[in-house]
């Protein structure tokens, strides 16, 4: 009985030892795996640093001052800004917008084309045609709605928060229908 208890204890210890050493082995494997991962990342860091350095050097060589000034002399002709191009403070900025004094030359006015639909402000205007851009449904409406009718629907539209095309108004709807047909083909 005593012998069996002793041997049982011994087996228990041995089992514990085995479990511990197995755990230790597993742990050291994990540690080694992590270590080699760290080393791999370090190598990658070094490689990336090198790569960055090469690219940086290439960029700096291509953008070197002598090359830039040679290009500027031949192709671009940029010059340093002069005094007239600087505004020192908000007063100078505000002075640009003050009304002309008596006898002052009239300011240059920039010519503008008449906007076709004052009621509907398009989100974007094509730089080529000068027409409002949008999806197919919007464009013919914008092109055809005439001034009075757009004004008639104004109340309705202003009453809403979200932008809504003037389809709610029966007058505008009537005006729109032939126009959209005409525009489709």
């Amino acid at each position: 009985m005593i012998a069996s208890r002793t041997s049982l204890r011994r087996i228990g210890w041995a089992a514990l030892l085995a479990v511990c050493s197995a755990a230790l082995f597993a742990l050291s494997l994990r540690v080694n795996a992590l270590k080699s991962e760290v080393r791999r990342s370090e190598n990658r860091i070094v490689a990336l640093r090198q790569e960055t350095m090469y690219l940086e050097t290439e960029y700096e060589t291509r953008s070197n001052q002598q090359l830039l000034s040679a290009w500027n002399a031949v192709d671009f002709g940029y010059v340093a800004p002069n005094a007239g191009q600087y505004l020192e403070n908000v007063r100078q900025l505000a002075a640009l917008g003050k009304p002309a004094g008596p006898g002052a030359p009239s300011p240059i006015r920039v010519a503008t084309a008449q906007i076709e639909v004052p009621g509907v402000i398009p989100a974007m205007v094509s730089p080529l045609t000068g027409k409002p851009l949008g999806d197919d449904n919007d464009e013919p409406e914008a092109a055809s709605a005439d001034h009075d009718k757009a004004a008639a629907g104004l109340d309705d539209r202003l009453g809403k928060v979200e932008r809504d095309p003037p389809t709610k108004s029966p007058a505008a709807e009537k005006a729109n229908k032939p126009a959209s047909k005409a525009a489709k083909p």
Partner: protein, 576 residues
Amino acid sequence: MNALTYSTALASGRVQLANVRQRSLLTAQVRLLAVMLLFALAAVACVLRIVQLGVVEPAPRASSLYEAMLPSRGEIVDRNGLALARAFPAYALWYNPAALGGGSPLVRSPAEIAHILASIFPDADEADLLRRLIAGKPGYLARRVLPEQANRIHALGEPALEFPREPDRYYPQGSLAAHVLGFVAADGHGRVGMEEVFDQQLTDPSQRARPQMLSLDMRVQGALEDELSKGMLETDAIGAAGVVLDVDSGEILALASLPSFNPNRPDQAVNRLVFNKVTNQVYELGSTFKPITVASAIDAGTITNLAKRYSASPIQIDGFTIKDSHNMGASLNAPEALIHSSNIVTARIADELGADRLKATMIALGMNERPYLELPGRGFPLFPRDERWARITNMTVSYGHGIAVTPLHLASAYATLVNGGIWRPATLQKVAPGLAVRGRRVFKASTSARMRQLLRMIAVYGTGRKANAAGFRVGGKTGSAEKPGENGGAYKKNAVVATFAAAFPMDRPRYVVIAMLDEPKGTAAASGQRTAAWNAAPVVGRVVPRIGPLLGIVPDDSRDIDLTDLAPLIPHGGGE
């Protein structure tokens, strides 16, 4: 007998039992001790391992990464952190005839390989390559091979053509600031410029990870070199030099000496090109010295009234005649003398001032010693050696003859003239704000304020009008000195050194700009003139608008230094 035997047997049995017990106890104790020792050993081993992990182990690993990141030679950067010189592992083309292990070193014929290599390297000599391939000796066929070129060589499939990566020094800006940077010779040590000055820091493993920061601003350096070389080409000069100096800290933002060299090709850096005209060559800088004389006289109190007129008739002294380049009228006051650059009147002002005081000013400005700068090559000025200057020496020095200094001396002196009167040594290392050297006072602040006005007047009314960049409030003085002949012979009439020393903006001076042209000719671009007003001044006039906005100086037409108290003294305006 029997009983005795029994008793002895019994006794001996007992003794044996006791012995057995004792022995087994001892064995148990020994075993226990052994086990404990084992455990203790294991514990000690664990502790040792922990100590090793904690103390010894990480160090070599960290240093290996550190070492891998460490450049073979430290970087040099400009004040904005732009790399000017860096270690760059480039490919080289190495011929290794032993690569195939005996027999013919090349798979194809040498002639064919030489032809292909010549097509990859357009600057290579095909006959020379062929000779080296046939000779069969290991050696470099090319250095600094581009990756694309290396790929094309690799595609040839010749094992004898190897391209090892080797550490090399690369200067991305090419010849820009070559004299400041210098180059690295084949022995791995720096030569000429800051490469030589910082050699120890750049090669020391504990220091080279941190780049060495210079005070140069590459954009300013680029603009200065560009305009100087244009000026040099326009006037057909043999050389040019220029400096941009911060008047308050002594930092050099640009330093150019032309013709220059490319530090990427140290084999082509011959002495003539490597010689630094700004710090190493001394020149008689002529009329640019006149403001120093006038400042000295105002400071000493010998000029109390700027309206005082001096006779402009030539001075006969010790068998010499001091003359002006042209007739400027019967008499001139000090502002007029500066505006028209009169030697005679400046000599009279110096005569009134006295030789000792002018000499003391020159010494205070460091004109009698090598310029203060980190660079190794610094020229020693030709300073009149007499203990007491003769009257004639005093007079000639007053207008910049009989004394030869480097352009850097002049830059420091002009910084002193305009910054409130404090002389500071120049430096090529970036100075943190507020940490500038204290320097020494040479002029009073009031003298400096007066000199700003006078220098500005020269640029507005006088010989410096071509440097008067709109909105930048430039002030400065021209100087056109004839060069002395060889071995101290007579002055050469047709060889001059044209200098323009300027500072801007004059209402609160920040930078000194010096432009110097060596032996400019009277070309059409300079309107047939050889003097500084026509060649060096326009260079400054083009440099200032380019560098001003970069340095935070906003051009402003509505602002200028107040000249109203001096303007009445020059009734006829400029009219040079």
